[in-house]
Structure formats: structure tokens, C-alpha cells
């Protein structure tokens, strides 16, 4: 488990390196000091991590996922095929009165919403009424969406507008958080986990949704035709 010592990177100014060396030396010296009395005080220090508790496999991942979405205050619609998805999306947007809609660069988003706006500047994005992205994974246990930057430019469209609509294929729903972490594309420079709308209880513990991020999260669950 313990990694090998890493070759010291030559970088930065002398004083930066000095700080690094000093901190690492301090860590090693203090650890060496503790090694002498570690035997009596901390027998568990070297105990290997316990084996993972297997997460119970849900009978129906979609059902579990949607009930968790509701529990965290997100909306969902189950659709079959892209034509139905496009129709549902248009209805959600018109019900919300959303006119300016930012879209990610995912091909699926382009197909179901040809009129979306892409490549917006920061200021333009702030004036959008809704953002449409896909999600790469769902987590049934928690009602969570997983968005990977390596797959799609969805960081801002899922965050800045007051409504976020996410398209998710039902066969991308993982049972548990652990399953999702094992599957995500770690080459992404940003992986975002989203569980329900943005929320705060900072004023007298009163729950308010939509503080900095979207007030409404709507998941369009896409079943294969």
C-alpha cells in the first residue's frame, strides 16, 4: 500500500524547495520519534483496511434512483427514445418559461435540442434561463448525477442557470457510490457529483434551494427504444 519514494521534482525557487524539505524533514523526524512508543499505544496503526462491505444490489436500480431523486428534491421524467426525450425537454422548458437555454457540447444534447446556445461567455451564461447537459453516471443509492469533464463541457451549463436538465441513460445507473467511483473516468480534470438542487440552511436553519447553483434539477431518464 505504501508508495515508493518519489524522485524529488526540481521546480520553483530555492526558498520554496527549502520549505518543502523542511516540512518533509519535520514529518520524518516526528514520525521517527513516535515509532519508539508506537508499539504500546497504537496496535491498530498497521492493521490493514477492512474488506469492503458489499453494497446491497437493488432490485430495480431505476426505481431506487428515482425515489432518491425525489428524496433530495430533484424532478425526473422517464422517456423512451430520443424523440420522446426531445418532446419532454421542450415541455419542461416551456413550462418553466425558459427562453435562453445553454447546452453542453454533447451530441445527444444537440440532437434533442437543436436550438440550444453553446460556447457562451461567462456574462452570456449568467443571462440563461436553463442549462441542458447529459450525465455520464447515476447513483441509485443517493440519487446522484456524475458529470465528467473528459466527456462533455457541462461544468457551467449544469451550474450557472437556475434550471439544470440532465439526460441520463437508464443503463448508466450504478448501485452505489463505490460502484460509481470505480467506473468514473479519472482522466477528467473535473468530475462533478450532483445530488439535488443547490441548497443552504445558513439563515436560521431554514432550507432554501437555489442559492448559488440551480434551484431546479430535472433528470430525463432515457430508456433504449
Amino acid at each position: 500500500m505504501t508508495p515508493p519514494r518519489v524522485e524529488k521534482a526540481k521546480q520553483g525557487t530555492g526558498s520554496v524547495d527549502a520549505a518543502r524539505d523542511q516540512i518533509l524533514r519535520s514529518i520524518r523526524e516526528n514520525l521517527a520519534r513516535s515509532a519508539r512508543d508506537a508499539v504500546t499505544h497504537a496496535p491498530s496503526d498497521h492493521a490493514p483496511p477492512k474488506p469492503r462491505v458489499p453494497s446491497p444490489e437493488p432490485l430495480d436500480a431505476v426505481e431506487r434512483f428515482t425515489s432518491q431523486l425525489e428524496a433530495v428534491g430533484a424532478h425526473w421524467t422517464l422517456v423512451r427514445g430520443e424523440v420522446e426525450a426531445a418532446r419532454a425537454l421542450r415541455r419542461i422548458l416551456s413550462d418553466a418559461g425558459a427562453k435562453r437555454v445553454a447546452g453542453s457540447d454533447a451530441p445527444l444534447v444537440a440532437r434533442v435540442l437543436p436550438g440550444r446556445l453553446t460556447g457562451l461567455s461567462r456574462d452570456e451564461l449568467f443571462t440563461c434561463d436553463a442549462g441542458v447537459t447529459t450525465a455520464q453516471w447515476g447513483i441509485a443509492e443517493t440519487g446522484t448525477l456524475v458529470l465528467e469533464s473528459a466527456r462533455e463541457r457541462s461544468r457551467l451549463a449544469s451550474l450557472v442557470p437556475p434550471i439544470h436538465i440532465a439526460l441520463l441513460s437508464t443503463n448508466r445507473i450504478c448501485a452505489s457510490l463505490g460502484d460509481a467511483l470505480a467506473r468514473v473516468d479519472v482522466t477528467s480534470h473535473a468530475i462533478t457529483l450532483i445530488t439535488g438542487p443547490s441548497r443552504t440552511s445558513d439563515i436560521e436553519l431554514t432550507l432554501v434551494v437555489g442559492v448559488h447553483g440551480p434551484q431546479t434539477v430535472h433528470v430525463l431518464l432515457l430508456e433504449e427504444e
Partner: protein, 469 residues
């Protein structure tokens, strides 16, 4: 203000105590409910602690591995021995990017090093964007809880504050106040060139940093500005990506009783292509500031396992009454009482190890099983050994007298007789100020015994019942 003064002020503040009771009870209840959704809570705690122990025992190697992987992904890693180093590094990076304002998401580490004051001295305006932090920044105050920083302020106070500082109509609607803060902060996000955040976990295996939140301000802070600076204590590193599962199960449940907070941002380096979203530069500042010293013994080392959930605050019978400000330290509550003396030196915080009844409620709720009472006792011993507290001369004299009296039966009897005759109570003013001592019986057990108790059997009726009060 002294600790005693702070405590008295807090205890006299009816509004504060009501708010504390409501918040700590709510979070405590939610936490208990949330634990049920984990198949084996105890095993998960054990595993989390084992991961932390393993990391801390090889902290140098994990930090080097993390640094190498983060740099490979395009991040720039800096090392700060203390708060001064860290403020200097962060201030210089912000200056190099010509920043007049920086947006910040909530970070206790930046509070620890007093970063806002350091940035202000350079003419850079730091803007807190977490709603609670924003409120207390507008009010010129400090956080009173590590999860809900403005827990001590009422809606009416916040409404008056926003009316004054943001020029909005006063409102008693939390949603309207929140919307006003959103509007004001959106303008700040739109113009900021540098975003500063903390870090909840850093994965050595991948060079990833993870930030948890509910509001979305950390996502904005780490994706809109062109430069992102993340400050993390060196103890935040964990070995593997898969270890995140354990900590993501523990932290939200322990902190707010949520199964998961609304957002987790897992950031690995910077964007790969120019057309990608996100900052062009990611600077990660590794902060020691007294932490490496804690590695020297297992009892102190466990303090570094803390994941800053705040569960011990909500469970602590002392914190629940006095709140965060009375402690007079950046980190309040039981965890603050063990972290602060180790970070800033026991001579400057000798009161903190005593700000506890040692009941152990903090240890019971801690998701990484830190034995906080054991560390408190260790620190109390240090206070005595280093004479860091108030002068202990009187205490030493008293104990010497006590030893002399208790070792000599005749002297003991004589002393007690005199004490009873003169109704002398031991000089324990600090104790008796808030508690009543029972009066001494007119005759001691020894006298009763000699007077025939041994033959007649117990005749306790002759001993007057002690009255309380």
C-alpha cells in the same frame, strides 16, 4: 476577552443559546437518522481511521506521491511551513494575476492562517461566497460553527445587515435574503480572476482534490476564475481514489446528516484543451503550520485524522451552551480544544484543554474515532508541566499541605476538629461559586466510633442530615 468572560457573555445571551440548542439538536438528530443508511457504521468508522492512520504513518511519502501526480496533471504545488508562508504564497499568486478581488469558498484552513487580513493588507479584496461566511464577513465577525458559520445570527439581524450593506428592502423571508445574496455575489463571480478554496480530501494515487459543499459557490469558485488556489493542511491526503467512498459516506452524514451533500467537485490538475471549461492554473498550497509536530506521538497524531465534520460540536454539552466564539479560537468545540493548543502553542491557549467536562460524547460521535478526551488529558498534563496556565504556586502549596495532613492521623484529626469548630470550608471559591458544598457533620466518624458506635451499632439518627443549600 478571557475565556471565562466569553462563557459568561454567551450564557447570558438568550437568543444565542436558543439558536445553538436548535441547531445542535437538529444536526444531532439528523446525524443519527442518517447513520442507519450505512450497513455497518462501526466498521466504516474503523476503516476510515485505519486509512488515516496508514496515511499519517507514511505522510511524507503520500505527500510526495500526491505532489508528483497533481503536478503531472498540470497543478502547481507549493509548500507552506506556517500561516505566514501560506499567506505570502497566496498573496503573491493573486498579485501576479493582477487580482483586485478574489472569490473564496468556505475554508477553515484560510481562517486558521487569517488569509483575508493578509490579502487586505496587499490591497486585494477577499469575498466570501458561502452564504453563512458572506453574512459574517459583511458583519465583520468570525464563524461560530465550522459547518454553519452564522448560526449565531437571527434572520432579523441578517435582514438589517443586508438592508444596510446591500441596499435591499428588509425582509423576514429567508428565501428573499438568500436571493439578494445570490444576486450580489453573482456580480462578484462574474468579475473575479482568482478563486480560493479549501480541500476536503486529496488523493495521492491520482493527484485529485475533492471539495464538498451544498450551495454551489465552491463549484463557481473553482470553475469560473482563470486561476484557482486551493489551500490544504498536509493531513488532508489519503492514499487511493477508492478510499473516497468511505469518507464520502462518513463526512456528510456526520456533518449535516445528509447522505451526500449537493455537490462534490473532484479536481485533477487543470483543463487539458483550451476549449475546455475551468481554470488555466491550479495552485495547491500544502500547509504544515504545526501539524507535523503532532505526528510525534500516537495520542497527538490522531488529531490529524479529523475530517472537520463538526459532529463533536453538536454533541458537546459545553459547545451546546456557549457556542463557538467563547472558545476564542478559530476551531471551536471539542476538536478546537485539542487542535488549537497544538497549532498555536499551549501557552497561548491553556484554557482550552479545560473547556470540557470529559464526558466523551465527542469521542462517541467522531466518524474517525478520535479519542478527544484522551488528547485533552494529555494537553492538561502539558499545561501543568509547562506551567502554561495561571500560576500554580497556590495549588502546589495546597497539595503539599494536603499530603502532610493526610499522612499523619493525629494531625488530620486535629485539623478536622478545628475546621468543624470554626466552620472553615476549604478555600475552593472557584468550585463553590456555582455549587454548594455539604456542611461538615458536628462529629466525625472517628469520634462517633469512639463514643460507642462500635458497640451500639449504627445509630445514624444522631448524625444530623446534611442540608443542601
Amino acid at each position: 476577552m478571557t475565556f471565562d468572560g466569553g462563557v459568561r457573555a454567551a450564557l447570558g445571551d438568550v437568543q444565542l443559546r436558543g439558536a445553538l440548542r436548535q441547531a445542535t439538536t437538529l444536526f444531532g438528530d439528523r446525524r443519527r437518522t442518517a447513520l442507519v443508511s450505512i450497513p455497518d457504521w462501526e466498521a466504516t468508522r474503523e476503516r476510515a481511521r485505519a486509512i488515516k492512520d496508514e496515511t499519517l504513518l507514511h505522510l511524507d511519502r503520500y505527500l510526495e506521491q500526491f505532489t508528483a501526480n497533481a503536478e503531472r496533471a498540470g497543478a502547481q504545488v507549493h509548500w507552506a511551513r506556517d500561516g505566514g508562508d501560506a499567506c505570502e504564497l497566496i498573496g503573491r499568486i493573486a498579485e501576479q494575476h493582477g487580482a483586485r478581488t478574489v472569490v473564496k469558498s468556505k475554508s477553515m484552513a484560510t481562517e486558521e492562517i487569517h488569509l483575508n487580513a493578509a490579502l487586505a493588507r496587499r490591497g486585494i479584496e477577499p469575498i466570501e461566497t458561502d452564504l453563512g461566511e458572506y453574512i459574517i464577513q459583511l458583519a465583520g465577525e468570525t464563524p461560530s460553527h465550522i459547518v454553519v458559520p452564522a448560526i449565531h445570527k437571527t434572520k432579523a439581524q441578517i435582514a438589517a445587515l443586508f438592508a444596510d450593506k446591500l441596499g435591499i428592502e428588509p425582509s423576514d423571508d429567508a428565501a428573499a435574503l438568500t436571493a439578494a445574496a445570490r444576486r450580489a455575489l453573482r456580480r462578484r463571480f462574474a468579475e473575479a480572476d482568482v478563486g480560493i478554496s479549501g480541500v476536503n480530501f486529496a488523493v495521492a494515487e491520482t493527484g485529485t482534490i475533492l471539495i464538498l459543499e451544498n450551495e454551489g459557490n465552491a463549484r463557481l469558485t473553482t470553475s469560473l476564475p482563470r486561476t484557482h488556489i486551493a489551500l490544504m493542511g498536509i493531513e488532508k491526503v489519503i492514499p487511493q481514489f477508492a478510499d473516497l467512498e468511505v469518507f464520502l459516506q462518513l463526512l456528510p452524514r456526520s456533518g449535516t446528516g445528509q447522505v451526500l451533500t449537493a455537490y462534490q467537485s473532484l479536481l485533477t490538475g487543470v483543463k487539458r484543451r483550451p476549449e475546455d471549461e475551468g481554470p488555466e492554473e491550479l495552485h495547491i498550497v500544502l500547509l504544515d503550520n504545526g501539524r507535523s509536530r503532532m505526528l510525534a506521538a500516537p495520542v497527538t497524531r490522531q488529531s490529524l485524522a479529523c475530517i472537520r465534520c463538526g459532529a463533536c460540536l453538536n454533541a458537546c454539552p459545553v459547545y451546546r451552551q456557549i457556542g463557538g466564539h467563547a472558545y476564542g479560537s478559530v476551531y471551536p468545540g471539542p476538536i478546537g480544544a485539542i487542535l488549537t493548543p497544538q497549532l498555536i502553542g499551549i501557552e497561548r491557549s491553556a484554557h482550552l484543554p479545560y473547556a470540557s467536562s470529559l464526558c466523551g460524547a465527542c469521542r462517541d460521535v467522531c466518524p474517525v474515532k478520535i479519542d478527544i478526551p484522551a488528547v485533552l488529558l494529555h494537553l492538561r498534563a502539558q499545561v501543568i508541566e509547562q506551567h502554561a496556565g495561571k500560576s500554580r504556586r497556590l495549588e502546589r502549596v495546597a497539595f503539599r499541605c494536603y499530603t502532610a495532613v493526610m499522612a499523619r492521623p493525629r494531625l488530620y484529626e486535629w485539623t478536622m476538629r478545628v475546621a468543624r469548630a470554626l466552620h472553615i470550608m476549604p478555600p475552593l471559591r472557584a468550585w463553590t461559586k456555582w455549587r454548594d458544598l455539604r456542611p461538615l457533620a458536628p462529629r466525625s466518624f472517628r469520634e462517633e466510633w469512639r463514643a460507642g458506635l462500635s458497640k451500639a451499632g449504627p445509630s445514624l439518627a444522631r448524625v444530623p442530615r446534611a442540608r443542601s443549600g
